[in-house]
Amino acid sequence: MLHFCKRWSGLIAGTLLLMALCATPAFSQDDAAVAPTADATTTETTITETTITDSAPAAAGPTTAELKVIADTLWVLIAGMLVFFMNLGFGCVESGMCREKNCVNILSKNFIVFAVSSIGFWLIGWGLMFGSGNDYVGTSGLWMVSGADNSPATLEAYQGDYGALNWTGVPLWAKFFFQLVFCGTAATIVSGAVAERIKYISFIIFSFVMAIAIYPVVGHWVWGGGWLQARGFLDFAGSTQVHSIGGWAALVGVIILGPRIGKYSSSGKPTAIPGHSMSLATIGCFVLWFGWFGFNPGSTMGAAPADIAEILVTTNSAAAAGTLSATLVAWLLLGKPDIGMTLNGCLAGLVAITAPCAFVTVPVSVLIGLIAGALVVVGVLFFDRVKCDDPVGATSVHLLNGVFGTLCIGLFATPDRLARAGNPAAKAGLFYGGGVEQLMTQLTGVVACAVYVVVLSLVAWLVLKMTLGIRVSPEEEREGLDIGEHGNSAYPNFVKAEPY
């Protein structure tokens, strides 16, 4: 009976979602059709024209300004695709680090979460984040990216509802796609931390809340022209905006859900619950490393050669250093080089360098990676001790190092790089003679985002808990969520050595 209700509430929630979606095209057909057309007529004509004019190489080609827009757009879109691809990475890492009996459930979560984000961020998320508005939230061009826009015009020349990104000349839909994949990443982070016990439907709904209420609002503060940006808070590619947001939401979820059955012995000692496939986990980590080459260098949102090249190298160096130091620290602390720690170390380095990637030298990126790698090992052990059962170490990777990386700007940012990246006003890092000012600003940002995200996700999780419920029954948890939630089995052809 109870179960029956749950099932239904699930379906109803789903159906409403569907209704909402089906509705939109209907009423929005026109304005939506208009908006893009508007910018089409401005941009396209020029472009299509070129497509004709450059037919004969002799003839006059496009203007160099147009070519710059073309190069910028290619770069932003390809980088965005790489970030999208990180969804595969997260899916593999997280399912690989959980048990085989919950594999289908985790894969489903990681798969559908990007679909949910895509729809949610398109519906209203983008508008809240980048629509011109007040210090706290966007207010114009809210729904379905239907606001006015005259890209490729930039800076003063830009007239439209999404002025916060007027510093790049790429088309509106390129801006949207690139920002969307970031939103998707933040939502995915939660999936791993709450794995092996959360209800599918509740996770789906929480992800939707992430995409329409949590991520975009903080996003407006940090990147959308909000108060933090005004204060000079810097977060180049999202250590705070993407990773710590995901991390905070995950942490709250973990605490409210409580640990998995069997994670803590009666004496409260944490027992290991090994993941079912280290191959999956490793594949995933490689894919994430690869995707990060879009994540950080792409955040220039323009094809500035020297910038993206150096950012690519700082990103890679931090990942490499993180991998090495986490492996070594695990080796020293735990006696053997645990592959899970090696992988987490790589991700830790990547998360930590995300905010400062454009502001620091390569040697410093190595240092940041080394610290991040050590940090994540300690973090995993710590969260385990304090009974935060996070099967994949998402909190240690994304939260801890998200915060650390954001602060690194205040420590290591070099003046010339701050200027190059378009923040001439910003103070250099503590170790580069800038004093503690920037560090304080960074701290403010970290705290502000933390407070907002914790409060909102707390509310969201609690509401879900009281309505649909967020945790599956002990029987289902023991038998595995694959059968319980999906009626599937991830590997039906193999004999399992696991409790059912």
Binding site: N488, V495, P499
Partner: protein, 112 residues
């Protein structure tokens, strides 16, 4: 000497193991099996088509004990593995004509 075969639920394995060692059983062998009895399998859907999982995964534990230890061992298993729900499993006892410890070649009770 007797061989006890018990078919129990996976998550009861640890309890059974502890219960047995408490009554002085030195060793056991565990096998992954699937079966049915009162507790039948269930039907699942895959891509819309139904299929029946006739057999429920179970754990088979085999314990060889001297005749003296038999009842104690059986009780240990019965208590530790019981949930009261259909599917708790069965215990089968059979006679062994001889036991050998490969390492030493010992036979009989001392080999158990």
């Amino acid at each position: 000497m007797k061989k006890i075969e018990a078919l129990i639920r996976h998550f009861k394995l640890d309890d059974a193991k502890e219960a047995l060692s408490r009554c002085g059983v030195h060793g056991m062998t565990v096998t992954e099996v699937r079966g049915f009895g009162r507790q039948k399998g269930h039907t699942e859907k895959y891509r819309g088509a139904e299929y029946t999982v006739d057999f429920v995964p179970k754990i088979k534990i085999e314990v060889v004990v001297s005749d003296g230890e038999l009842t104690a061992a059986i009780d240990a298993i019965t208590q530790s593995a019981r949930t009261g729900q259909v599917g708790d499993g069965k215990i089968f006892v059979s006679e062994l004509t001889s036991v050998v410890r490969i390492r030493t070649g010992e036979t009989g009770d001392s080999a158990i």
